[in-house]
Subunit: 543 residues, 2 copies
Amino acid sequence: MRLPAELGAVYLKNNHCTFKVWAPNAKQVEVLLLTPGERLLPLQMEGDYFCGQGGDIPPGSLYFYRLNGEVDRPDPASRSQPQGVHGPSEVVTLEFPWNDHAWVGPPLTDYVIYELHVGTFTPEGSFDAVIPRLECLQELGVTAVELMPVAQFPGSRNWGYDGVFPFAVQYSYGGPEALRRLVNACHQRGLAVILDVVYNHLGPEGNYLRDFGPYFTQRYQTPWGEAINFDGPGGDEVRRYFISNALYWITDFHIDALRLDALHAVIDQSAQPFLAELAEAVHLQAARLGRRVYLIAESDLNDVRHLQASEIGGYGLDSHWLDDFHHALHTLLTRETGGYYQDFGGWEHLAASYRQGFVYAGQYSTFRRRRHGSSSQVIPPYRFIAFAQNHDQIGNRLNGERLSQLVSFEALKLAAAAVILSPFTPLLFMGEEYGEKAPFLYFISHTNPDLIEAVRRGRAQEFAHFDWESPPPDPQASETFERSRLEIGLLKQPEGRYLWQYYQKLLEIRREMIATVDLGSYYPEVQMLQPAAVLSLKYSRNN
Amino acid sequence: MRLPAELGAVYLKNNHCTFKVWAPNAKQVEVLLLTPGERLLPLQMEGDYFCGQGGDIPPGSLYFYRLNGEVDRPDPASRSQPQGVHGPSEVVTLEFPWNDHAWVGPPLTDYVIYELHVGTFTPEGSFDAVIPRLECLQELGVTAVELMPVAQFPGSRNWGYDGVFPFAVQYSYGGPEALRRLVNACHQRGLAVILDVVYNHLGPEGNYLRDFGPYFTQRYQTPWGEAINFDGPGGDEVRRYFISNALYWITDFHIDALRLDALHAVIDQSAQPFLAELAEAVHLQAARLGRRVYLIAESDLNDVRHLQASEIGGYGLDSHWLDDFHHALHTLLTRETGGYYQDFGGWEHLAASYRQGFVYAGQYSTFRRRRHGSSSQVIPPYRFIAFAQNHDQIGNRLNGERLSQLVSFEALKLAAAAVILSPFTPLLFMGEEYGEKAPFLYFISHTNPDLIEAVRRGRAQEFAHFDWESPPPDPQASETFERSRLEIGLLKQPEGRYLWQYYQKLLEIRREMIATVDLGSYYPEVQMLQPAAVLSLKYSRNN
């Protein structure tokens, strides 16, 4: 596995640039350079790759690949799409005045994660606008900023899971250079940066990868259509593409951890699983770079294999989102019972999560109509990420209500403590620390009318499980996006300020507990005191 | 996991019978008894199962399930289909005058497998007709008879992989009682019986399981259509159905081993894999019965996890067909290079298989256009099954040629020695021991004209990879079936007799080598002496 920067347009220096693209579906590939003047640069076929280099290509040059002399397509490994997903790709330089040379990254045990959506975190919706807010996060006790996906998506309003250029940084957020500025600033403040990456599907608009090669397979279906081809003909090159992507963020953007979205939709029957290969490549690169780098699984499978070592049949990922904990806590606080919440709702569910991580470790799930999960008791709890809220759990509600809209102020405090004083690694969703009231809705800005209509319909269907009263807000409307922006003013009001300080104090206590009772390295003793509805957690080093 | 006989119609005694069927798609299920007189027996809903019992139901009674008072369907767990796949199911008794009470079954290390197709092995094409041939097999040195699938398929001519009633023994072969007679006779002669079972798909005609419940899933595609639903809603009950099936054969038919067909098409993302659950249930039942029972994987994945213990992420199956060995040997003998043979053809491929089992243990495969397999070096060689011929490798050729039609007589002897004196467990395909010349062609006897045409087309497509000269024989023609029947007369001619004795001698040597150098427990030292084209295997206990 070679270096991250090998695919796509790699700017060297003196306006020299190399190109490399995997295109087994093409007989001929040329680079159509659009700037400064239009010209064609032929590429040489090397196996299923096409490679070449040229001069007079300064950073900022725009180009397409011309396939078989016929169609012009943006680069699958485009690093920048200044004119959006349908436009030409841009040659960008890797040069950046980093000043985080001593940065190693915190150990996973010290992570306190703050998940944010760049587009709605600030009025500007840009990477640069995040920077002035970092001080406040640092004061709060956050140690890691998690960015929802930033791969180029259609339009300017999207959660990020419709990205179609995994290497291109969303241009409307500021593009690759601005992301580097943000990471650099985070590191200056001692904050790690986690990037959410989507290796299970590409978005429905602007996906031109099929014109190049078998990136997808019809053998498996995901909730978002054809699965990515990790185990069929050409699967090695597809793996290389995504592994290169992971290495690109780590190496060329100094990203500290990747959150791997929806791994249940990475379907792979091969004898040597993609995820194990990804983990090996990333950890090797981290060792080369002398930094701590982590891979965080999001998966609906409750499968301990994600976390186990490859020697015992696992994939060797470092950490795992713990949805079961969320559901157990959320149902106790809200008494909601719709959809997947029907599997939770008892004190014993929350107690089970504190005791062992996954609540569903092989039991029958009524919602899933099958047994679900495997035991995670062998995994130390700091390798699970727990939250009372996140983008999905808020945004996948019809009206995108945060917990602040659903439960009392006292219950918000309880939720904060339940997460932060848990043995798990805590994650906060932007704004929860001061009880933000703005919803976080599902929003898109596609251009294809049929697709827009399909998303609207799909969204409505998704809510069939729940007992909602009115149709969902229109995902395509810019108003839906604007309503989701943080109001932040609350932070200056007494209640918001109080809650913020409460979170700050909890995080301080958490740090003390890490120092004194090694919080996170073992599961606590849990007692349920009923009918008073008290759950007592006892941490002692001797567990 | 309850006992094998729980699903379907279980005959108790005194003409009393219980019924149990999983039918989540139905609101009401009745048993429509057709004999002695037509009457309806209502079943009670118990969760997603419907259960009940009745009297006056002697063995031989015919019945359908009536779903929602509307449609009549044969029993998914039917034990007998005397009128074929579309007809009623039959109540059968488990009573049988077994006289194999002391039978324990040979250890896997002693297996010498003889694969046969009941329909073409004898002129009669029945289980009973196999019995007089057992003596000759025993004399040859065979220790285990492997039956190609016997689950009820449409018509009377089929390899068996189009079965649609996994519990029903093909009626035209003699039905369940005749199978018991054959197993009993085998055990009398010290021969184990392996049954080929298909848990990856059902045949295209006579599959009524969809009317009962979600036995299939659209999330995965197999070469034979929708995959079986092992991990979606209802997947637990689907597993129970197939695990009950495995236990049925072992317990009620005294079967010694199951060959699990095409496990690459058992697609299962769950945290607790079906195959591991199957292995656990079968091994537990074997322990209860005090017998040796084995599960043999056939899989195109070259994935060592099939054989590894569940504690290290494996499925815990006992044995694995070693296609790589076949391909390495076949290409050396025939110099064929078409289709999947393009990945083989060198002495180093055969040497690699002798040294480590899987030849493709992670290397790039030109045919598959991706890296393939994992190392099996940790698995002792007796857990692999090696062959120079089998039903697939012969029958998946356009003209179904056996090796006897492709190579010289001397080369047949060489092939025999290469297999029998290998460290692997040897498998012979019926007739190869005397150089049978009749082809083994692909044949069916469907009734649906569209389906017949589709099979003809599919067959032709399958041969696109190879350079064949004429179109394939018509699979539907009874002539194609008749041509595939053993001629056996050859056995009485000098050349056939000679070869038979040669096999017999090799098997005698094999037994000696097991006794003297523990053949099968380790990989030999392999030397290639070129250009003389000699491969030397050195077995020594000290390896």
